[in-house]
């Protein structure tokens, strides 16, 4: 195939790009995919694939500080955000992002084959129906141009592709019950077993009444749907998603008797079940956790060409028109060299699917799709308040997936007029996030307290297994001033722009921290959890509200920088995720989400990707 024969050019090989590549090539369309990361990460031969993945694991083991992107190679020519660069004092320009403040943006993503699904946790709760109507119901943010009901068929496709393990019947909470799902619907696999610690928690938390600003709420604890392999559910009836030309729509086929578990990319016999590595973030050693390469490798190999080490740098518009006529990209051989060669990718339809950060950057750099002036704006994340303490008995944390149970109680309610809703995962990994435990427990005992020998071992054994951590992942509404911009002052080694971020947390968010802490205090009291939570003014993203200080953390849910909407003047893409300004340019990814809800966004974004794939196929068939 020569360069101008492709039906579609896709930028990015994360879950959005991978789903598009699989669906479009299986529908007979030709796809050229550009990926900024290394060829080694895209290896198709099982031996090379396995060797490369082992190098990720080895890098994780051998690194002194272990963070979300630690296992993956750092590329000077296609830098990823590093959460270790986050600093309390803005403005600063160290690292990839230029942080203008007033608060630093605290989340990262990964530029590599497979994208951020390489290091994601894999929690995949759906959004709630009310999340799509935040303006109408709560006078916050905006409504989506589509409803929850519109997205249900695509949620089912996304859950099929990711391979969700979960229990539909237990998904009960505010604005959530069996009617959120199709009749008799089940997930592909049975729920991931809830942890021993969850069971300790639930004794005194499930059914607990808490009081907040004069209102009573009853807390419940339910299992978390996850994108990791468990036991297939015999009642699951779907096979895979295919293009039905007659009806011009995507459809889930029926399976042959049972759901086929998808194991590691190098061998289907590895990773058929979660093995309890307890390292989903940053790497599942056996790939029992879903990653986008599983999907990408199911693309029709005769219909796809993947060019790695190719960094998209500009979207080109035809002279005198508004159609996109190419995507300029820079190819590097050595990821740390400043040398590159320039190329242009050509297709009939162009799709940017390279993250909310990179999509926005690329559009701004090209000065396209921005009639609305919304490109780069409305950057959102879940702002995560953590509370931690010691259980009165051993819960035995640091085992199993990061989260197997969550509290849905504050995901929706009238309070959303006043402060942000949140989801509360009960964390299975002790205090590792806030304190770098258990290493910090060892240094504290040995360096500060001079402990040694059997006393040291007994002290660690008495305390670390009692560590427990609760999250409050609070929904940030869209704010036009929370944004990504670019500046000629800040470029990378390939002369591409670096993201320049302005970011803050409004009082709507800060009040939710106060509310969350009040709820946490009551839950801790009911469980006799000894509180060890500390928020220090020297930490990044320490904020105050009503005289109290709180530190929030990033959730890695980077959303909203090219939102979809109802009109060309209030949004970047329409409800089909096509740019209002260019009829052959689609944007795919979390950047399209007008609001965030309280769900980890990947599942919803993947559902949106199926919906977009359908629109793209329709458009392609209309022009061929």
């Amino acid at each position: 195939m020569s360069e101008n024969e492709y039906d579609v050019v896709v930028v990015g090989s994360g879950i959005a790009g991978a789903v598009l590549a699989k669906v479009l090539t299986q529908a007979g369309k030709t796809v050229l995919m550009l990926e900024a990361g290394l060829q080694a990460g895209m290896a198709l031969k099982p031996e090379e694939d396995h060797a490369n993945y082992q190098s990720y694991l080895e890098r994780f083991y051998a690194s002194t500080i272990k963070a979300t992107n630690t296992p993956y190679p750092e590329l000077k020519d296609a830098l990823s955000i590093n959460v270790l660069d986050i600093d309390a004092h803005t403005p600063y320009e160290t690292g990839y992002m230029v942080q203008l403040g007033p608060l630093p943006f605290a989340s990262d993503c990964l530029r590599a084959p497979g994208g951020t699904t390489m290091h994601w946790l894999g929690n995949v709760p759906r959004m709630l129906p009310n999340d799509f109507q935040m303006k109408t119901r709560y006078d916050q943010g905006v409504d989506w141009p589509i409803s929850y009901a519109d997205l249900v068929p695509y949620y089912e496709m996304a859950e099929n592709e990711i391979g969700v393990a979960g229990d539909v019947t237990s998904q009960q909470g505010p604005d959530m019950n069996h009617t959120n799902y199709s009749r008799d619907y089940v997930f592909p696999m049975l729920k991931i077993p809830q942890s021993y610690q969850d069971q300790v928690w639930m004794k005194n938390t499930d059914g607990l009444d808490v009081f907040l600003y004069g209102k009573q709420y009853t807390v419940s604890c339910i299992s978390m749907p996850q994108g990791r392999n468990s036991t297939p559910n015999d009642h699951y009836r779907y096979g895979t998603t295919v293009w039905d030309r007659a009806s011009q729509s995507l459809k889930l086929t029926n399976n042959n008797e049972h759901y086929e578990v998808v194991g590691a990319t190098w061998s289907g016999y590895t990773g058929e079940r979660c093995e309890g590595n307890a390292s989903c973030v940053p790497i599942c050693p056996v790939q029992a956790k879903y990653n986008a390469l599983k999907t990408l490798k199911k693309s029709d190999p005769d219909k796809i060409k993947i060019i790695t080490q190719a960094v998209a740098s500009q979207v080109l518009i035809e002279e005198g028109g508004s159609d996109v006529c190419g995507i300029m990209y820079k190819s590097y051989t050595d990821p740390n060299s400043i040398e590159y060669t320039g190329h242009i990718a050509k297709g009939k339809i162009y799709i940017l699917a390279c993250s909310a950060i990179e999509n926005a950057k690329l559009l701004l750099a090209s000065n396209v799709a921005n009639t609305s002036d919304q490109v780069g704006r409305n950057l959102m994340d879940h702002l995560v308040l953590l509370t931690w303490g010691l259980l009165p008995e051993k819960g035995y944390p640091y085992r199993g997936p990061g989260c197997t149970t969550y509290i849905p109680t504050f995901r929706d309610g009238d309070f959303r007029k006043d402060f942000a809703a949140w989801i509360s995962p009960i964390d299975n990994w002790g205090w590792s996030w806030p304190t770098f435990a258990p290493g910090s427990d060892v240094t504290e005992a040995v360096i500060n307290k001079g402990m040694f020998g059997k006393d040291l071992r007994a002290t660690l054994n008495a305390n670390v297994p009692r560590q427990t951590l609760l999250h409050f992942e609070c929904e940030q509404p869209p704010c036009p001033e929370n944004r990504i911009t670019i500046s000629a002052k800040y470029k990378d080694r390939l002369d591409n722009y670096r993201p320049v971020i302005q970011y803050d947390a409004s009082n709507y968010m800060r009040k939710s921290f106060q509310a969350a802490k009040k709820v946490s205090d009551q839950i801790f009291a009911a469980n006799s959890i000894e509180n060890f939570t500390v928020y220090s003014p020297s930490e990044p993203d320490y904020v105050t509200y009503d005289g109290q200080g709180y530190t929030f953390r990033g959730a890695g849910h980077i959303v909203g920088t090219h939102r979809m909407g109802t009109r060309a003047d209030n949004s970047v893409v329409d409800k089909n995720q096509r740019t209002w300004d260019h009829k052959n340019l689609y944007l795919i990814g979390c950047g399209n989400m007008p609001t965030l809800g309280t769900s980890n966004p990947t599942l919803t974004m993947t559902a949106l990707t199926y919906q977009a794939a359908e629109s793209i196929l329709k458009q392609l068939e209309s022009i061929t």
Partner: protein, 158 residues
């Protein structure tokens, strides 16, 4: 590099005393030689000799009077002034798998010794678990209490 068997044996014995793990558990990690070389690489020979002499004296005392040995460890090995914190460096090496050049106060910059030293670091078994990303206990294991052979409360062979 030739290593004195006597010093190696002293290293293993004092490591067991300082970490609270049995020598056989330490040997089971496969890390003893790596950590002994790390020590030799980072600490000058003369200092090591004096340290091991003191260590042997503590261990000798421990055979007859563990309480006195504990007191002597605290006063002669665990003070910030004791052999530039060498005993603390040994404990941290075993528990965290990292070398701490100056384990005192806020000076906690450390370096991962190698990949295996992460996998074998003792803080995980001390906390009744396994290092994240390695030694995985199997599907569903996390729904139960950890299964473990309790070597801590059972003295081997006695």
């Amino acid at each position: 590099m030739t290593t004195s068997n006597k010093e190696f044996d002293s290293f293993l014995a004092i490591s067991a005393w300082l970490t609270g793990f049995e020598a056989i558990e330490l040997q089971g990690t496969g890390m003893t030689s790596v950590y002994f070389s790390t020590l030799q690489k980072n600490i000058t020979g003369a200092n090591l000799e004096v340290f091991f002499a003191e260590a042997r004296s503590v261990l000798l005392t421990a055979e007859k009077d563990p309480v006195a040995a504990k007191a002597r460890t605290l006063s002669h090995l665990m003070q910030n002034s004791s052999f530039n914190n060498l005993a603390k460096q040994i404990i941290l090496m075993w528990y965290i798998g990292q070398w701490f050049p100056e384990p005192a106060g806020d000076a906690r910059n450390s370096t991962q010794i190698n990949a295996q030293s992460y996998v074998e670091s003792l803080m995980w078994p001390a906390a009744d678990t396994h290092p994240p990303g390695a030694k995985q206990p199997g599907f569903g294991s996390w729904a139960e209490r950890p299964i473990k052979v309790d070597t801590f409360n059972v003295t081997m062979g006695k």
